[in-house]
Amino acid sequence: MTKITETAIEADPKLPVIRMTRDFAATPGQLFRAHTDPVLFAQWVGPSGMDTRIDHWDARTGGSWRYTAGSGGQEFAFRGCFHDVRPDRIVQTFTFEGDPDGVALETLWFEDLGDGYTRLRTQSLVDSFEGRDAWLASGMESGVNEGYAKLDRMLADGAV
């Protein structure tokens, strides 16, 4: 099977949904751990250039989570609930506290490709097209503080 080693994205024009697919050189169990173990999760969730502090974490069905990403005195907090946690699928809600009325329903699937690779598929359903766009935009704003070369290029485009 061809590997999707670069994140593939699809923004559904009919629904306020963003879907992404990415393959990892790992077992489904490892990928699951990287999403449910708070110490591991904090190491990669980002945004880049920011430290992630896990404020609360209960990665069980019915549990909840909150983390804060910060750099240079600025902080962005996120929170949500673990609606359903099982080895092949996680369903959770996601809210950026800077936009507390907005909530996304996220589903993650871990699909064993059988040769040491696991496919991660994610789907984020936002409550409106406006919400999806605000969400895209809020990522842009936090990006201003990151100082990474790629993001600097984005800023040079003048879209923030």
Partner: protein
């Protein structure tokens, strides 16, 4: 492009008739009556759809000889792609960090341990 503009674009494209109009306009400029041909709706309804697409900046009706032509504004699609590509790039950055975390993870035999535990508050990454 503001988030507001992007919202209008996405909302405009949420309708199947408007998506079809956009797909047909991608083949080239046309007139309103030509554009209306395949749809079982009044010309007035077609104009309504066009107005939504115009407000979103997806199509324009440049001034000129009558009947005026309808044109697809591809620039808006480029901007939309840019936004989505930025979002994708952020995700890819995140997943590259995840690649590194997975590579550093100990042997698969430790896999699955501990993940059901309530880790409580105060963990730092």
């Amino acid at each position: 492009m503001t988030a507001d503009t992007l919202s209008r674009v996405f909302s405009a494209l949420a309708d199947p008739t408007r998506r079809d109009m956009v797909a047909r306009l991608a083949d080239g400029d046309t007139t309103v009556s030509r554009l209306a041909e395949p749809y079982r709706m009044t010309l007035q309804a077609v104009y309504k759809h066009l107005r939504v697409l115009e407000d979103a900046g997806l199509v324009s009706r440049p001034p000129g000889p009558q009947p005026r032509s309808v044109r697809l504004e591809t620039e808006v699609f480029d901007l939309m792609d840019t936004w989505i590509e930025r979002y994708r790039r952020r995700a890819e950055q995140r997943y590259r960090r995840l690649d590194a975390v997975l590579a550093a993870m100990s042997e698969p035999d430790r896999e699955g341990a501990e993940h059901d535990k309530d880790h409580g508050d105060g963990h730092r990454g």
